[in-house]
Symmetry: C2
Subunit: 327 residues, 2 copies
């Protein structure tokens, strides 16, 4: 009998594949099953993990400690997690900031009803960036926190461009404005809108014969997505898009500018520069699966967030090892 | 009756003064007493807090929740904390990395014997930097973590220079080597000694008629402190030292360079740029006093470190507020 934490994946897209690939580095864990909404026999996976229909999850209750929920935030997670949390402890990366309190309530009730623990909104934003915002705001209460995203691909903005008539395919990069970051780093404490912090760069493949000027106009004036930003649009070929823009890099910065004593400036900065957004997010979720298992063992049931997790719970090392090697 | 956390300071040097100055920003805390080894009537402080001899600490047992220990790591803390932890929950910034396991044991026994909680080795390194090393190592297990210090004043190195014959006063700055940092940020994973990561810059006031060439030689060849570093020595006047080098700036960088999937580079960086090292350290210790109080209320007795503290415990905000505002 193994003492490993038995982990399952639910949802096999970019994130699910990332978890499958990265979990082998955690010797304290076993990947037990991959759950899918699709016909399991149709799924081509990268390991010999059993692929199981989501309809059969209930039968696996005794065989799994934590399920990493890898669906999307728009519709998958709000539907799935409150259901799955009645059967298993879960980890997810729900990232619709405004809806987190409502989502927390629902998942909390479901998880508590079955003595499960559900870690919501893991990943890096929300997730690691949230942790950094809380540390910085707590330490330097007199100060301001700025979050910049990028350079990276925004899936939501890329999708929005693809819905413009005449667009065949597209990728959108969010780019933080260096000058704005440097103003923050200097301790100036500027007031900045999201649009003053970021540029948006779009690479668009147009359908044959499409009106490119009209496409560009529609993108640049799209409410919420682009109208408040400095946006550039490049038309490129399908081959070029595939060759140069098929990776999923991302990253960002949390910069806190505070003051202590008689005008002493104190700057805290955390940044991520990621070649692969889904693989990094997967790596965070794997640590959080470990943490969630430990919280559950301690009887801490219900919904939790990264803010409730001691840093040591991310690690497979013992407290003694951590104090000796990393403190 | 107040519901505030009742905090005391033990030791009134730069750090103690920093805590006294910064704690007013925490409306959930009251500064109850300042304990000193000196004659209390001789202490000139910056608030109307009662100043009490350390010999009388025992009489304050019912009036204080947490004592922030502000002595030095070399001799004060190893002596004082195991004694004080028998009376009070404590927070300290013990920073002799190699001796932490031994120190932990002693404080752990003392605190457990009285159902107290003692947070050891808070501050920023060890402290916030330790947290960052654990997060990064856990998330990206395939990777390397690099810690750079500076630009900042090293008290230990400044003291070492002052012991050289003919030296009247001195300040030493530790400076991280930009080129080494950029090699790390590129994902190159170089092997770097501490000397390859840092320069040492010394500002020295010589006694009248002292042999400056000999002073410089003695500094540059001093074992452990300078011999393995590129060191520059500037001789300046006493007035210049006072005018330009009396502040206590510091800071540093924790950079983790990891890999996921098929060679995707993932870089995590955390940095501090501090105008005042003692005021920042004080600000961290104040948050840790809040956290220590909460851990103690939960019955978590004995020695703890920052790695055992959930980020939310740093904050005076509720879980609900944090999820809404900062997650």
């Amino acid at each position: 009998m193994s003492n490993k934490i038995r982990v399952a994946i639910c949802g096999y897209g970019n994130l699910g594949r990332g978890v499958e690939k990265e979990i082998v580095k955690s010797e304290d864990m076993d990947l037990t099953a991959i759950f899918t909404r699709r016909d399991p026999s149709s799924l081509v996976i990268n390991s010999d993990t059993p692929v199981v229909s989501m309809n059969e999850m209930e039968n696996w209750k005794e065989k799994i400690d934590v399920v990493i929920m890898c669906g999307g935030s728009a519709t998958d997670l709000p539907e799935q997690v409150p259901e799955v949390a009645k059967m298993f402890s879960t980890v997810d990366s729900f990232d619709t900031h405004a809806k987190i309190p409502e989502y927390f309530e629902k998942v909390d009730n479901a998880a508590k009803s079955a003595n499960n623990t559900s870690l919501i909104s893991g990943g890096w934003d929300p997730g690691m960036f949230s942790i950094m915002r809380v540390y910085a705001n707590s330490i330097l209460a007199e100060g301001n926190t700025y979050t910049f995203w990028g350079k990276g691909v925004s899936q939501g903005h890329s999708d929005a461009i693809r819905r413009v008539p005449g667009v065949k395919d597209a990728k959108q990069y969010t780019i933080p404005i260096e000058d704005a970051m440097n103003r923050v780093r200097s301790g100036e404490n500027p007031v900045l809108t999201t649009g003053e912090k970021h540029l948006r760069e779009c690479f668009v493949v147009a359908e044959d014969g499409a009106d490119k000027a009209e496409i560009e106009r529609q993108i640049k004036t799209m409410p919420n997505y682009f109208d408040e930003y400095e946006t550039t649009v490049h038309f490129i070929s399908e081959e070029e898009l595939k060759a140069n823009h098929s990776k999923m890099p991302h990253g960002g910065f949390v910069i806190h500018s505070g003051e202590t004593g008689d005008g002493n400036k104190q700057i805290i900065e955390y940044s991520l520069k990621l070649d692969s957004n889904p693989e990094f997010t997967a790596s965070v979720l794997i640590c959080l699966a470990r943490a969630t298992y430990r919280l559950n063992q301690e009887g801490k049931f219900g919904a939790k967030t990264v803010l409730d997790v001691p840093p040591a719970y991310f690690s497979k090392k013992s407290g003694e090892e951590l104090r000796k090697e990393l403190l």
